[in-house]
Subunit: 430 residues, 2 copies
């Protein structure tokens, strides 16, 4: 593509940018936490219908996916777990077919008084738009949509089939992306604009979620010392898990892409609840753990090691010796994934197409980075033999308070995405 064509596409994104920002604000108003994605998905389905995509909207059926690799145990029921996919059927049927994937679910907002403004009333201050999910990753969905809009405004459509996916369940299982695979959506490459500051993610960790359930007869309050109650019995288990975390982060255990990453595998005690009455020795406590694993690390072995560590720690505690901890796996059982290991022509070609687009828009080379989080990329890369490129705008405080995304970064990513589509899919006239 010559510079003039590039400029034309970038200008087309500029022309629609106010509309894109307005779209993002509207989308962010939907509080699409797990189980509450329906209105946001309706908004997305309407947007795709208005643009003449062939829209497929379906409720995920656990029976369809539970036997597939990458499936994670379901949290809650799936009555409200609805995916939306808009298909663009090209005339040219070029080789560079593409899935543009993004997730609609957002994580809980936490205590409202920690937000400077209400989390579902998005507002702009300088270059930043604020709101829960505005960065992770409704901005990415907007980039995907308006990149195609910009091309259309110039009279173009992709010259290969493109599948626009708005999926649920990214934040706890990935079963939304898995359900898209199961439903037959395949392409030569995938782009997922997760908010990682315009870097290309070439390796991501895996994530295991588990709950530790402590329940049993505590000793009487009259003898309430260390380890006599279920809440305090959690402490040595948490300490033991941190020791395992340090071991797994050791240089000899690291995946090569993470050799120079500071503490890539993180253990997070994300939730805890226990006890019923201040003057009763608590008989139960449950805490929820998120633990990272490296690409290539076997999940079954990882779980066995976690269990062994908890069992050992239980031996040293008065409560736990008599009341063994029960480990329940729910949510993420996600393997790590390294795009860097994909030596296919499709990987080379799609990465090259993205690099070219990024350089044209930003004037800089595209940085390749390894991240300490997971994304839906793993499903495409590990279970569908499809290179999955994670590349999206700059956001801050995702999963935190005053989550925000850079508007100029959204503009650049939308431009890069439009150029990438032109490079990778080719263009055909409408």
């Amino acid at each position: 593509m010559d510079k003039a064509a590039q400029s034309q596409i970038m200008s087309a994104v500029d022309d629609l940018f106010d509309e894109e920002v307005g779209f993002l604000a509207e989308l962010t108003k939907h509080p699409s936490t797990r189980g509450n994605e329906q209105s946001a998905q309706s908004f997305m389905a309407d947007a795709l219908n208005n643009r003449s995509f062939d829209v497929d909207r379906w409720q995920i059926d656990v029976a369809d996916i539970q036997g597939l690799p990458g499936f994670s145990p379901v949290i809650g029921n799936y009555e409200d777990a609805v995916n939306v996919v808009g298909s663009h059927h090209s005339r040219s049927k070029g080789k560079g077919s593409l899935i543009l994937n993004g997730h609609i679910d957002v994580v809980p907002e936490g205590p409202l008084d920690m937000w400077d403004q209400p989390p579902y009333e998005p507002h702009v201050d300088g270059d930043w738009m604020y709101g829960r999910g505005v960065g992770d990753m409704k901005a990415g969905l907007a980039c995907n949509l308006f990149a195609l809009d910009a091309l259309r405004s110039l009279g173009f459509a992709p010259a290969a089939d493109v599948y626009f996916q708005s999926v649920v369940e990214e934040e706890c299982t990935g079963n939304g992306a898995l359900a898209c695979l199961q439903r037959g959506y395949k392409a030569a490459a995938v782009l997922i604009p997760e908010p990682f500051a315009e870097d290309l993610i070439t390796a991501q960790v895996g994530v295991i979620w588990f709950q530790v359930h402590l329940k049993g007869l505590p000793t009487h309050v009259a003898y309430a010392g260390d380890g006599a109650n279920a809440i305090e019995a959690a402490i040595p288990l948490i300490n033991a898990l941190h020791k395992l975390e340090e071991k797994w982060n050791g240089p000899e255990h690291r995946h090569g892409d993470f050799a120079h990453v500071h503490h890539p595998l993180n253990l997070n005690i994300g939730k805890i609840q226990g006890g019923d009455w201040t003057s009763s020795v608590p008989a139960w406590c449950v805490f929820d753990v998120r633990m990272g694993v490296f690409p290539g690390q076997d999940l079954e072995l990882a779980r066995a090691e976690i269990e062994a560590v908890l069992t050992d720690a239980a031996q040293d505690n008065a409560f736990l010796r008599n009341n063994k901890p029960a480990i329940v796996y729910h949510g993420f059982q996600a393997e790590g994934y390294a795009l860097s290991e994909d030596k296919s022509e499709e990987a080379k070609g799609s990465i090259s197409a993205l690099e070219t687009a990024h350089e044209a828009v930003t004037g800089n080379r595209l940085d390749h980075v390894a991240i300490t989080a997971t994304t839906d990329a793993r499903f495409f890369g590990l279970y569908a033999n499809t290179p999955a490129l994670v590349y999206g705008p700059r956001a801050e405080s995702i999963h935190g308070f005053n989550e925000r995304v850079s508007l100029e970064s959204i503009r650049r990513v939308t431009q890069t995405t439009a150029l990438f589509i032109a490079n990778w899919c080719g263009l055909e006239s409408l």
Copy 2:
């Protein structure tokens, strides 16, 4: 009283004992946890009305009691906080007037699957009746009521005024007993049949309840090490509180009555809750603490020491340095109480009357013990200059699972109570 009269009274208790056991089972069916005492209180009011007591039933008004010594901060609202008092107005107006006090509230039952039988479907197995609250202290209420019934069946009533109190809020504040004082109920002595195995309680600890609220911006999950999150930030605070507990239990800090008691002051972490999402670093955590204090230990100084310990511990933790813990006092702010220090004629006389009765029924001397829990006795002893005798049946697993009370112990305590009334109040014919 001669042996024949004693025997007659004890036999009268025996004659009514099946009825007493039935009454206790009915009362235990009412799940009278805090806020849910109404149906149990109606049952009690009906029982008193049927026996021609002058029944006073009123909703506690916080405004009436909040300025009084011994008041504890209220948990929840008091719309359902209703006391019941039945008055016996004697003709003789003897000096030995008496308050028979018991609490109707029970602590939560905890996980139902930890009970062998449902907690509010009382059942008998051998000498034990099982159910939540059956020991703590519905059995005591039954003892009080059927002791008077036994005397009545013989044609007698107490020769001094007797106030039968069924109060709420014993398990979290004691404000039910305080409201009885405020309403004007006074007597020369008080009997509270809390389930301490037919011993006379001559000293009890005080209890402070407090919540520790942790809330603030955690560091990012990418740097989630020790102390980076609100849940884990609770751990050093809990450890620091245990150090304070050990200090207060030290020989140089002890009240004399507790010199030989094993670890009299107990710290209990009774409840905890924190975090919203397994993969979000938790921004908040709240835990509930119960701490004992000795009789004579100043509550204000105790609270100041607790606060200082928490503030110091916060200095050493990454999360807490930036997010100071907030301490909220709710529920018990209860001083310790030692009946042993009451040298009044009323104390000597009432204790002697109980000792005589106990020895007549059991053949053993009445043991005097110090307990590591609190009871409503403190209100009468500390704030109304009235000796409060805690003496009740044997129970096991109170505040635990399969709570149970010994039926033969109930029989003996009912007999002892009837003899005590005869000794202390004197008798008049109906």
